[in-house]
């Protein structure tokens, strides 16, 4: 039977799943998928020639280790297709798809991930994790940034999709970097200005992997041969400063016309200026 997209939205809204999450907390705590499926009553999803290969979902690893996320993102990406090819981008940009999957075929998986995170399933977290709800703006967030940071399934699909476009690096390597380095992800992967232009993201991530130290400690990193052990650069500050400078540079150069290597040269020039500034500040 076809699952009608309109039914999904009705189900999400009119059956109060969304508005009365507080009353339905047990669904999420106890993984009562049957209660939800009973209401939806369909098990095959089809939308504008797009299909979901549900049989692949049994291969998902129900935890959120880096290895599992790399593995799972590939399965989520490859299970959704339009006419046998990559899922159409505008369908993947639609929150309804991810919310529907999160409450039906992948509900158990989603709940497992939540439990593995060892958190209590607070309402706000469910709203974000299952519905891509933006608590601050009091609405479901359909922005490009939300697609790669709110709903967990959308995050996995878009991560794989973006990683796949980095031609000069292995997809696994890119995914590991995205999933491991939150500061990098927050400043570059989650920002459409860098992540959605293939050559730009390819250049930025290659620059990061090849030129940024990997061994930041919680106390920060000594980039300057231990000039002073008490004065270290925090990774978050480094990336923020770098992103700010890269954006400013983008005001004068259209990064679209640069190839990956030219973009890496731009990044190296920015890093050099930052180093000089840090040296001045720290010395």
């Amino acid at each position: 039977m076809k699952t009608n997209v309109f039914n999904i939205r009705q189900f999400i809204k009119e059956d109060d799943l969304y508005k009365k999450i507080k009353n339905h907390l047990q669904y999420y705590n106890d993984s009562k998928k049957d209660d939800i499926l009973k209401k939806l009553g369909n098990d095959i999803f089809e939308y504008e020639n797009s299909k979901i290969n549900i049989s692949e979902f049994k291969n998902l690893i129900p935890n959120n280790s880096i290895e599992a996320e790399v593995h799972n993102s590939k399965i989520i990406y490859e299970s959704l297709t339009t006419n046998g090819n990559e899922l159409k981008r505008y369908i993947a940009s639609n929150n309804s798809l991810w919310t529907h999957l999160a409450h039906t075929h992948l509900f158990d998986f989603m709940v497992s991930i939540k439990k593995n995170r060892n958190r209590k399933v607070p309402i706000q977290d469910i709203k974000k994790f299952f519905f891509s709800y933006n608590e601050k703006e009091k609405k479901v967030d359909s922005s490009s940034r939300a697609l790669v940071r709110n709903n967990y399934l959308s995050y996995l699909w878009w991560s794989y999709r973006i990683a796949l476009k980095c031609k000069k690096l292995e997809t696994k390597t890119v995914l590991k970097w995205i999933f491991t380095d939150e500061d990098f992800s927050g400043n570059f992967f989650e920002r459409p200005s860098t992540s959605h232009i293939d050559s730009v993201f390819g250049g930025v991530i290659r620059f990061a992997i090849e030129n940024i130290p990997h061994d930041w400690s919680n106390k920060g990193y000594d980039l300057f041969d231990k000039i002073d052990k008490n004065k270290k650069i925090q990774k978050r500050d480094f990336y923020r400063d770098f992103a700010k400078r890269l954006n400013a540079r983008g005001g004068f150069i259209n990064f679209e016309i640069l190839d990956e290597d030219e973009l890496i040269d731009e990044c190296l020039a920015i890093k050099e200026i930052m180093m000089l500034n840090y040296k001045k500040v720290l010395s």
Partner: protein
């Protein structure tokens, strides 16, 4: 990056707004066509520039960069070329609803003020500036051209309507015109002002006006459109009919099986189906139908 007229570069940049460069400004016209058979978007781009700039293009010292952007899908694609008039082809498969196309002029090699760029062409203000344009530096930008891929491509249902003012319509009344492309809804000028407020308001006020537009205007108009379509479903040549066909298909309805008593419910379903895509998107498309002057 999209630049507004307020953007200041600190060096001369030719654009449609400022007077950094004397003589003419940089303007671009884009004529966009969708090839329905293969989903290709053909953009006929023609640029207008001062003669001395044209020489820079002939000598390949600068180049055009034209970028197509779709915010909803975060999609970008671009083309680089040297001709003043160029037919560019993009794929529409990654686009949804609104897209913008803008062109930039980018240096292909190092240019110097006073050498490749004669001082007589630039504003006196910059004459003392000892500036070099490095390779890939932006030296010009045009005003973005906005398009809606509606109604053919995945656009909200609101894209089939265009709201217009008419002196023949009494205050408080509306009139419909089912054109070949879109459905025109005519209002008295005082009524149209109410809906124009949507674009300039925000928060509760905006929602209030939006709800009036949806409930008092769009749902009745859509009901009328469904009635017109169901009574003559064999002729599917009008653009608004093909959009309705897609929407009905989404909801598992067949136009030949629509009963008159279902029409109002169906119109509500279609409108709210699209509204779920987000108030912002619906609002943007409404702004679009308010602002654009369509020729039916």
């Amino acid at each position: 990056m999209i630049y507004s007229e307020l953007k200041s570069f600190g060096y001369p940049v030719i654009n449609p707004y400022g007077d950094d460069f004397l003589q003419d400004k940089f303007t671009s016209e884009v004529n966009l066509n969708l090839h329905e058979n293969d989903g290709k978007l053909e953009a006929k781009v023609s640029h207008s520039l001062p003669d001395f700039f044209k020489k820079l293009f002939i000598n390949k010292k600068v180049k055009f960069l034209t970028v197509l952007r779709c915010n909803f899908t975060s999609f970008e694609d671009h083309r680089i070329y040297y001709e003043m008039n160029k037919d560019l082809t993009f794929s529409s498969k990654d686009c949804f609803d609104k897209i913008s196309i803008e062109s930039y002029i980018v240096c292909n090699e190092t240019l110097k003020i006073g050498k490749e760029i004669d001082k007589k062409y630039i504003n006196d203000f910059y004459h003392s500036l000892n500036r070099t344009y490095n390779k890939n530096t932006l030296i010009g930008f045009s005003k973005p051209s906005q398009f809606s891929l509606s109604p053919k491509l995945n656009a909200p249902i609101t894209s089939i309507f265009v709201l217009k003012e008419s002196t023949d319509v009494e205050k408080g009344c509306v009139a419909y015109d089912f054109g070949d492309e879109l459905i025109s809804i005519y209002f008295h000028k005082d009524d149209l002002i109410i809906y124009k407020r949507i674009g300039n308001s925000s928060g509760k006020e905006q929602k209030f006006h939006l709800n009036i537009l949806i409930n008092a205007v769009l749902i009745p108009a859509l009901s009328a459109a469904l009635l017109a379509y169901s009574s003559n479903s064999e002729d599917n040549s009008q653009l608004w009919k093909s959009t309705l066909y897609t929407k009905l298909n989404d909801l598992n309805y067949n136009v030949d099986h629509i009963k008159p008593e279902d029409i109002n419910t169906l119109a509500n379903k279609i409108i709210y189906f699209d509204k779920d895509k987000g108030l912002k998107q619906l609002n943007e498309s409404i702004n679009f139908i308010l602002e654009e002057d369509y020729e039916d």
